[in-house]
């Protein structure tokens, strides 16, 4: 029997057995689509975290001098307690490093805490108040939507001016213009001079609920004891220069802290690598567990498809017997079933790919989860979906085709 004859026969059968073909097709479709979508979420979150999240928190080629690392997964209590006993970072440390670095960098001070910001009778609670120096906006890559950032002069003089995150501006001023208005932070009035561009969210956490004020403004007492910083931010032009700056900063700090060569640093020089390492731990779980669950469900789905197909073939054992009694060879029967299963699996997988990609885009658009299609998932989805469909169709047929025609014909 020529191959096109097998295909023609397969198409006839598929048309004749719409329900069974539909179910098998649906099985492959759902399997492929869900694998691509779930993998897409894992992939998207992972990429987002490594590419965007780390840079949102740290900025490119940027490191932070802190008392302890910002992201600290699975730290034993003893280490944690040791960190808490470390001396804090002081204004004077920041100044010493600024003067000591020979690499061209821009720097900023940063201290943050949660506060309530109010305007007239409106309040915005739980707002991230950051007392920072003027280059903070550059290092954090915070574009100004309206108004302006504060200047170095305003920072040094501790002027009571504030730059609002978009969410805070909306909450306090709704549609009215916020510029020039006076908001109260810790009982002190601050003049609004700018609003930062929309930042969106990370994994559902809003990034627009903040206020930035000059590091030396009265609010410095709200975020830290006098003369103390949460972090000193240093941004270099390149990765290489950043590494040089880190080593210089380390030397400066060690000498300021009078550390002997064998003593460990009692401060942290944190880069986005740290957060990426922290994330790598979580992402291993994410990129193995989620697709793992999907693969398990695909296998279960595959067993279901296989069952449907097995039942269908059992029903068709008589047909196989009849075809053999009319002169079909075993290979003819196999070819017919192969063509049939392949057609169903191919169509199912094709629609599955489209739906999976579509679903990934929809998830990306309407949920806080960033999702993006991973090519590997498409390949794996097709291989598994089509493989299950084809094996499930051909294997039972091959068993039936081995029987004597009369045995197959008599099977109920």
């Amino acid at each position: 029997m020529p191959f096109f004859e097998a295909i023609r026969m397969a198409l006839q059968t598929i048309r004749a057995q719409k329900l069974k073909s539909g179910f098998s097709l649906l099985g492959v479709f759902v399997g492929v689509a869900s694998l691509i979508a779930a993998w897409g979420i894992a992939n998207g979150v992972n990429r987002y975290m490594t590419e965007k999240f780390a840079q949102t928190l740290y900025g490119v080629n940027t490191f932070q001098l802190r008392r302890q690392p910002m992201f600290t997964p699975n730290v034993p209590d003893s280490v944690w307690r040791a960190w808490r006993r470390r001396p804090r970072i002081r204004f004077s440390d920041a100044e010493a490093i600024s003067q000591g670095l020979t690499v061209p960098v821009i720097t900023a001070w940063q201290s943050s805490d949660r506060v309530t910001v109010s305007y007239a009778n409106k309040e915005a609670r739980d707002i991230d108040l950051t007392a920072a120096s003027e280059r903070y906006f550059d290092i954090k890559n915070l574009g100004i939507a309206i108004g302006r950032p504060f200047t170095g002069e305003e920072n040094r003089s501790g002027a009571p001016v504030a730059v609002l995150g978009e969410a805070v501006a909306k909450r306090l001023f709704s549609e009215r213009a916020p510029l020039g208005k006076s908001v109260r932070i810790g009982g002190v009035p601050y003049r609004v001079i700018g609003v930062v561009e929309h930042q969106g969210s990370i994994l559902g956490f809003p990034l627009d609920r903040f206020v930035v004020v000059p590091a030396l403004s009265p609010a410095q007492n709200l975020v830290n004891p006098p003369g103390i910083l949460d972090a000193f931010l240093v941004k270099a032009h390149s990765d290489l220069e950043m590494r040089e700056a880190i080593s210089q900063a380390e030397g400066i700090m060690r000498s300021r802290r009078h550390l002997r060569p064998k003593q460990d640093n009692n401060f942290a020089l944190d880069t986005s690598e740290g957060v990426q390492r922290f994330w790598a731990g979580i992402s291993t779980i994410l990129v193995t567990v989620i697709p793992g669950i999907v693969i398990i469900s695909l296998v279960i789905g595959g067993i279901v498809i296989m069952n449907i197909m097995l039942m269908a073939v059992a029903e068709r054992t008589r047909e196989i017997g009849l075809r053999k009694s009319l002169g079909a060879r075993r290979s003819d029967v196999l070819r017919q079933f192969l063509a049939e299963s392949t057609t169903i699996a191919t169509v199912g997988a094709a629609f599955g790919i489209l739906a999976g990609i579509g679903l990934t885009f929809v998830i990306n658009a309407i949920s806080p989860l960033p999702a993006s299609v991973s090519p590997a998932s498409v390949v794996l989805g097709v291989v598994m979906g089509a493989g299950v469909g084809i094996v499930a169709g051909v294997y039972p047929a091959s068993r039936a085709a081995k029987l004597d025609p009369i045995t197959a014909l008599r099977q109920e």
Binding site: Q12, E319, K324, S325, L326, R329, R330
Partner: protein, 243 residues
């Protein structure tokens, strides 16, 4: 019926002997017991004979028919069809024999329910590797021969029992087989339709077709010119009838 050749193991049948079985046995292992459906059947059938195989149920007549039709494989013994020793053949060669040499008519018709009459009759030609056009012509011609030229696009459930059996006969004949085998061809039909089908068989025999059919009805067997009776898996009687 001419004189029967005495056949011994190692011999080859005479060319005019189309079917020859020699000490053919078939046993079924039913788990707890061994069922010996055929216990050594030796028959010879010549070209253009019309033979009825009779016997009570369980006598092995259907088993013999399935072995002659290559739908089943014997446990031991020889089976020669058209001077070819079929009992030795491999699966694919058997498929070719079933396709070219044998036309089988079943009691239950065994048509593909979702295919129309024409496609059902076409099936053996597909496996013979014939092109689509000549297939259609041959299948249509075969249907016309059994008087169903105007029912080609009907599905089996749109046909009466007699018409279904005619489709099955057309399918059996479409490849111009050496033998037409029928296992209780009238078993599912009323007596009028049965007579009709017997008329078709008689006509085919008249045209030179070798016909072997299994039946347990005397009046159906009466259409044949020779009756072989089986009992307990062996040949009990084998006699020619007055035509």
């Amino acid at each position: 019926m001419s004189a029967v050749q005495l056949f011994r193991t190692g011999d080859t049948p005479r060319p005019d002997v189309i079917i020859l079985t020699h000490k053919l046995t078939r046993e079924y292992d039913m788990g707890s017991e061994l069922v010996r459906a055929l216990r050594g059947v030796s028959v010879q059938i010549q070209k253009n004979e019309y033979v009825a195989v009779m016997g009570p149920s369980g006598s092995g007549k259907s088993t013999l028919m399935n072995l002659i039709g290559c739908l089943d494989t014997p446990t031991s013994g020889e089976y020669w069809l058209n001077s070819q020793k079929v009992s030795d053949l491999a699966d694919d060669e058997l498929a070719r024999i079933r396709n070219k040499e044998i036309g089988f008519v079943f009691q239950t018709f065994n048509l593909l329910p979702r295919a129309d009459a024409l496609h059902n009759v076409e099936l053996p030609l597909i496996y013979a590797g014939m092109s689509a056009r000549s297939r259609r012509e041959r299948a249509a011609h075969a249907l016309e021969r059994v008087g169903l030229g105007n029912r080609m696009d009907h599905k089996p459930n749109e046909l009466s029992g007699g018409q279904r059996q005619r489709v099955a006969i057309a399918r059996a004949l479409v490849n111009e087989p050496s033998i037409l085998l029928a296992d209780e061809p009238t078993g599912n039909l009323d007596s009028t339709t049965s007579q009709e089908i017997m008329g078709v068989f008689a006509e085919l025999h008249h045209q030179g077709q070798t016909v072997v059919m299994v039946t347990h009805e005397q009046d159906i067997a009466a259409h044949a010119e020779r009756v072989i009776t089986l009992r307990d898996g062996i040949v009990a009687t084998d006699q020619a009838r007055a035509a």
